[in-house]
């Protein structure tokens, strides 16, 4: 009996199905080597004490520390308000620029400047600006809005005003980013579906609500997830403006414990904290996808 070639080799169909896996294999291997191992290492180290004995003590320390809860609530506040504000303003700007008025491309260019600045530069800029003798007060004085006696003490406010200051700075930095993503999405939708909306009786607002936003949803989801993830990780700007422990947030506490306190005991606390941050980030992302109904859609399409 002879064995045909097709019996020996995989069927054409099976081979075709394997192609995507083969294509992502290098990425998977790269990630396992340079990302998965360090992560597993960090996670396991977070469950050991200084003597290398397995323990929950690092986590117990964190959960007993009131600063952790302050950091958690501060972070939550920042995320909710900064992401909401950023989204609304960025969406408004994207809609405006999408109208292609005269000079819209110059406006787009100007709007992108904050995005081009590294976080440290943003921090430096605002900390020098907001200082009592900073450029913002000088600017206001030059134009006579305030006098020497009524200078704003931007950085000396209570918790609420410091939180809002961070939200404003964060919004200033990332609105262009969100706007670009939304603008790309808007330009992908095409004018004609909106024009059809106008012809078939829709007002501007109805078109926005029933056509533009639903069609933009995949883009909105992407933008929101990216923003939620990075908003949970705000820390550098806070440290540059207020130093450590003045306005505790999650990642700032990670850096503080892991890097600043200079004892192995705290390093391990920092590791445990970073594991918690990772869990919170994933949970927030999944929660958002659930609430926005993105999973359902995928099921509907596959089903």
């Amino acid at each position: 009996m002879t064995i045909t070639k097709s019996q020996l080799s995989l069927s054409r169909e099976t081979r075709k199905k394997m192609v995507p896996y083969l294509l992502i294999a290098p990425v998977v291997i790269y990630y396992s080597m340079f990302w998965l191992f360090p992560v597993i290492n960090a996670v396991s180290e977070s469950f050991k004490n200084v003597d290398g004995v397995w323990t929950f003590s690092n986590y117990i320390h964190i959960f007993k520390d009131p600063v952790f809860y302050t950091a958690l609530s501060n972070t939550a506040f920042l995320v909710i308000f900064s992401v909401t504000i950023e989204f609304l303003l960025a969406f408004g700007l994207a809609l405006l620029i999408n109208k292609k008025f005269k000079g819209s491309s110059i406006f787009l260019f100007l709007a992108m400047i904050p995005m081009a600045l590294p976080a440290v530069a943003v921090g430096a800029m605002w900390s020098s600006g907001l200082a009592t003798r900073g450029w913002l007060n000088s600017f206001l004085m030059t134009f006579g809005f305030i006098d020497d006696a009524s200078k704003f003490l931007f950085l000396a406010g209570g918790k609420m005003s410091t939180l809002w200051l961070i939200i404003i700075i964060d919004a200033w930095t990332v609105i262009p980013f969100v706007m670009i993503i939304l603008l790309a999405g808007l330009q992908g939708i095409g004018e004609d579906v909106r024009e059809a909306g106008a012809i078939f009786g829709g007002t501007k607002f109805q078109i926005l609500r029933k056509i533009t936003i639903p069609m933009l949803k995949p883009t909105i989801t992407t933008a929101m997830i990216l923003r939620i993830i990075s908003a949970i990780q705000i820390w550098l700007i806070i440290v540059m403006l207020f130093g450590f422990n003045r306005l505790p947030v999650l990642l700032e506490q990670v850096v503080l414990n892991y890097d600043q306190l200079g004892a192995e005991y705290f390093e391990r606390i920092g590791l445990a904290l970073s594991v918690l941050v990772a869990i919170i980030v994933s949970a927030a992302a999944i929660l958002y996808l659930k609430v926005s109904g993105s999973f359902e859609k995928e099921e509907k399409e596959n089903g």
């Binding site: 579906v193 106008a198 012809i199 007002t203 639903p214």
Partner: protein, 368 residues
Amino acid sequence: MATLELVDLAKRFSKKVWGVKKMDLEVNEKEFIVLLGPSGCGKTTTMRMIAGLEEVTRGTILLDGNDITDIPSRNRGISMVFQNYAIWPHMSVYENIAFSLKLKKMPAAEIKQRVQETADMVKIGELLKRLPGQLSGGQQQRVALARALAVRPRLFLMDEPLSNLDAKLRVIMRTELKAIHQKTEATSIFVTHDQSEAMSMADRIVIMKDGVIVQIGTPDDVYFRSANMFVAGFIGTPPSNFFTVKCIYNNDKIALEHSQFTLDLDPKGFEELKEYNGKEIVIGARPEDLLVVPDSEAVFTEEILVVEPQGSHQVVALNLSETIVKMIVSAEAKVKPGDNIGLNFNRKRLHFFNKETEDRIHLKNEVE
């Protein structure tokens, strides 16, 4: 059902670019008007101005005698089928068709009935629950059509609605659209660059070129009484053949002298050519108005270059002094490349054009 009137309508996009230079048009109640012209002649721009999607630079749009030039699209009582359908991908077929009815706050039961009725009319009654992504191009086209019909518009606009369909479906949809129009009697404006589509569907055809109208008329008007050489060359497949001739007018005989032949005419019925005596004019001859005749009766003889069988007839191409001349012969005629055939003209059906202006030279007793 309504009348539409465009008065001195124009659209300028920028200093040098005019979308439409000047449009004057009256559309009667229940009429099916086709805007026909080559790409870039301003058909879409005209439609968009009527629909309110484009601001006009100059002129007025009257619907039922009311000036709607500055009224927003949604209040014009107009509906439109877009070239690439523009149906909403996130809404089911049902929701697409019901969209405008819901915005009009029509009672739910009535909406349901109207949607079903309209969907049945365009044969997508079974597909109401589907999303557009799950439909073929032809079905999407029908959704766009149903959405536009459901409104019971005063004016129904279609911008090249069939151009994305394959050739066979396109011909089927022509017939269906015409049947739908006879049923709904909605005043309609249909845009196309396909002259055979225009001929087969229109009550009247509006032929445009470079942002202006060159002729308005019934399919017979534009075919048998083309207003100028552009129309004669644009309408019909194959298009008209043109021959530049010198007109020698005598009271007992007209001689039209071409470099390759001389065509004699009896002056009776061609008196208008008198003023062109001694001048050059252009003869336009439709492919079916060139006749194969025995050599003794021929105006000229020429060798056949190629034969294109079409089933119902054959197209024969000749090379007459470096210009291709195309004519139609019956399916039975025994013709093959290389044959020499004698040709004559169906004189009553010839078109004559002024060589300078390219406009038609009108004769008193033109064929009706």
